[in-house]
Subunit: 534 residues, 2 copies
């Protein structure tokens, strides 16, 4: 494919702004094609294209919307090895990892297609008229959920496929009936162009409105313009706390504030119960080291804080973990900026009183495993510096005095994507209080597992209270991710032909619906019989 470096605006390609370049993540060498910073007019045109496509796209049937998602998946699966090679060059991620990520991305699109066909996301509720009700008749009321409107999507640098142009935010927005305007991540613009072109082909093949997908290249100001654009009605973001919060603040300061789902920052604490350390401490140390260094630690779910209780078994665990992290092969990070941030983060941790570096493996600009050890006092210090995410292959281990410290930390800790309990089955009741506190603070609780490797499914939650995200009520992975971009609308006493198909008497889309409080897939006139049979 020839890379053009032009924006995707309602099916057209355009670029008039200043030049931008993509570069090799390891050598810094420029890719031989220039991209362009989106001008104000181009950003506005992309948003307008999305706005114009919205009414048509919102009204598409589940079957048509699912077909679009599946065709996007097919087109991405069909991209050739030049695509993987370009992505690997831009991100320093190995081709095998990127192939896995491509599979994750296309499975995710297909999962949303399945969810859309299932139809429960429309949450159809029908309360039939009761003309004889006293003191007042009840009108006929029919509710379903529609897309909120065009969504601005900001992909992540660390998952150039699964959390980027055709990643979870785009897939869930499209599934919800919302056109998207993607701000391509400056770290993988060539990759973004490949994926955007695949989406464009899928749109053409399925006759979807061209404005359903738009993408602009650019830096922070182009992104800010999208968040402020009046026709943008929601934002999906994955990245750092600083940028996520800035976009959130912009969106809330609009004349009409809009929802922002920013997935930002988490240290994913691991609680090591003494029982687990005694019975299999060495094994946990090795597995945990693998989780810390997986993908050079560049994962939102990287376990960055490990809590144990001082004991000989704990000391043995620290020794084993040190050994395993020191063995991890140094790898190039996503780019020089990420690497510099990692170094700064590490230096910040080392400056905290009571923190000591145990392992610090680096060579030739490549980064291996890092381990720091912190005192109890550092964990409970007022500034909570140990709860700041350091993005890379490092973790901080803390020796506590007792299990009461676990409870005290769980009570005060900030919101997290995950928390993990390592324990033996024997004394489970004993941990109920800790689990209860963690449930109030995280999106996902793991038992004897490792937080990296987020399943894409109905039951997964990739979200959590602030600062893990800006809205604990959402998840950015899994079929429930669509709910972030849906809002309810109610039709009162509407004649059947004017109702959207989802709400019509004959249930043409065969949706599951709640009719007078009873769930059914039947057409409305049959619902009464079903109810009687229930």
């Amino acid at each position: 494919m020839t890379i053009l470096g032009l924006h995707y605006i309602g099916g057209e390609r355009h670029a008039a702004g200043t030049l931008l370049y993509s570069s090799d993540a390891v050598t810094g060498e420029r890719y031989p094609v220039s991209f362009h910073e989106a001008t104000e007019a181009e950003g506005a045109a992309a948003v307008l294209a999305a706005h114009r496509a919205f009414p048509v796209f919102r009204a598409t049937s589940p079957a048509d919307r699912a077909a679009l998602l599946e065709t996007i998946a097919d087109e991405i699966d069909a991209l050739d090895q030049a695509f993987i090679a370009a992505a690997s060059r831009e991100t320093a991620l190995p081709p095998a990892r990127l192939e896995g990520e491509r599979k994750r991305t296309t499975s995710q699109l297909r999962m949303f297609a399945t969810t859309v066909r299932r139809g429960d996301f429309l949450d159809v509720r029908i309360d039939r008229a009761q003309p004889a009700r006293q003191p007042l008749p009840r009108p006929d009321l029919r509710q379903y959920r529609v897309g909120v409107g065009p969504v601005a999507v900001f992909g992540a640098g660390n998952f150039p496929l699964a959390f980027s142009v055709a990643g979870g935010d785009t897939a869930s927005a499209l599934a919800a009936g919302c056109p998207v305007v993607v701000k391509a991540h400056p770290g993988h613009m060539v990759t973004s162009e490949y994926v955007a072109s695949a989406i464009e082909r899928a749109i053409a093949r399925t006759n979807a409105p061209a404005g359903v997908f738009n993408m602009v290249f650019g830096t922070a100001s182009a992104g800010a313009a999208l968040v402020r654009a009046p026709h943008i009605k929601a934002v999906g973001f994955t990245g750092s706390l600083a940028v996520g919060r800035a976009l959130f603040d912009m969106a809330q300061a609009r004349p009409d504030p809009i929802p922002v789902f920013a997935e930002m920052s988490s240290v994913n604490p691991v609680f090591l119960m003494p029982s687990a350390l005694s019975s299999r401490g060495a094994q946990i140390a090795r597995e945990l080291a693998a989780s810390v260094t997986f993908g050079c630690g560049q994962l939102c779910t990287n376990p960055g804080l490990v809590l144990g209780i001082r004991s000989p078994a704990f000391d043995a665990f620290v020794a084993e973990l040190s050994k395993a992290l020191a063995l991890a092969e140094p790898l190039p990070m996503l780019g020089a900026g990420i690497r510099d941030n990692f170094q700064r983060g590490l230096a910040g941790l080392r400056d905290i009183p009571g923190v000591e570096a145990l392992v610090s493996k680096q060579a030739d600009g490549r980064i291996g495993g890092h381990l720091l050890k912190a005192d109890r006092s550092a964990l409970f210090a007022e500034e909570r510096a140990l709860e700041e995410e350091v993005f890379g292959p490092s973790t901080v281990i803390v020796a506590l005095d007792s299990e009461d410290d676990f409870l005290a930390f769980a009570e005060r800790m900030r919101g997290q994507l995950t928390a993990t309990l390592m324990a033996d089955d024997g004394d489970l009741r004993h941990h109920a209080a800790l689990v209860e506190r963690l449930e109030g603070k995280v999106g996902r609780l793991l038992f004897n597992g490792y937080p990296t490797g987020v399943e894409v499914s109905d039951a997964i939650v990739h979200g959590g209270p602030y600062p893990a995200t800006t809205d604990a009520r959402g998840t950015s992975v899994g079929s429930a991710a669509m709910e972030r971009f849906l809002r309810p609308v109610c039709y009162q006493n509407y004649p059947d032909p004017l109702l959207p198909p989802a709400l019509r008497e004959r249930n043409p889309w065969q949706l599951p619906r709640l009719i007078d409080g009873v769930p059914t897939r039947a057409a409305q006139q049959d619902a009464h019989d079903l109810e009687a049979a229930a």
Copy 2:
């Protein structure tokens, strides 16, 4: 009941702050008991009580939570005539209206009890482990929804029961498992004390944790303190745009922003199709006048903007509407402040070029029907002054040139709670484009009806895009109101005894659950059989 004028803090009564008084809405005469402005310490104590009650309350079974809601309803139903008399004195609302509102309030609580027992709000999703999956095994994942945490509730002045202490926000928050801290509306503090005491008795009778319900009296600063309190995790508000937006901004500026559902401002446009005006213009005029003046116009769903197309039938309609509004009996408003605001709002409308007052009925401080007529140019003016809500028994009628103007206005209008289409069934397809645009702008679309009188049911939506509310994804009336206060949590590979009951293998609460993508009420080990049978 003896009114004490003390705050409700975790089951205790307390007040140390400066004095506040309740007064007769008509005479301004003080109620012979003083209330108190909540001190900073009292506000904090109320929030702490809610925070402490949260873990226990969050974990209650649907049956126990439903029993609490029903017992609150019973206790409010049992309040004697002194309660209705006090509410009538504080708000100038007639006793019959307040009796109706009491019924609405207690039905609403019972509806949430039914919804809680139905269990679908928990949205349980189970993806069972697939240990043999390639290339990686799938873990066992179980998601349900839990309350977000303590909710600060700000009741409305115009519904001292249904949108106040035990109104929709409190009922939906409790149903979702969230303790509440109510800031009592200064316009009906005696009424609030009656209702708060009823809730307190219900809590005692059902052995719920005392901190599940808290209420403080106070002015704006006491409310602001609640919104800023770290343990408050969401806000429910009904009232003016200015106050709603201020609370929203405060909540978003917190170190950890929290969701705010503020229902604020709507002019509820009515679109009069020529067909309807020709066939039954006079009837619509009379019914519309009744809707405009119902409850002295002090309703969020008051139809404040009526759009027609110039024609003899339209002129006749305006004449009939003027007559009907001039006949409406003047009534006292909720208080002098509301009345002053109404007068200011009317004056503002009259100052707009192209606006003319047709009916302005007032007598002895009582307010009757008001009608203003505006030119097309005033409707499309850049400052959108006709879209500003004027809270009271008034409406603005606009003569447009053609149905294209309907489309143009629907395209540019702000978010609304409702929009109403008055039309004959004959030419429905003709209106599809208008309906589509309105769907993007409102929470509820009515056909040949009047927006006042909001049904409480599964299918109702009382919400809409900004400035109708601060979050179009919610409704503050109906069973879906609970969803504003729920967030998903996922358990990965947890042993059954440590799981919350909703997620356990045997499905002890007999919930509807989505197991491996298939909806079922069965216990987990039976789900496979069901799936095979489906």
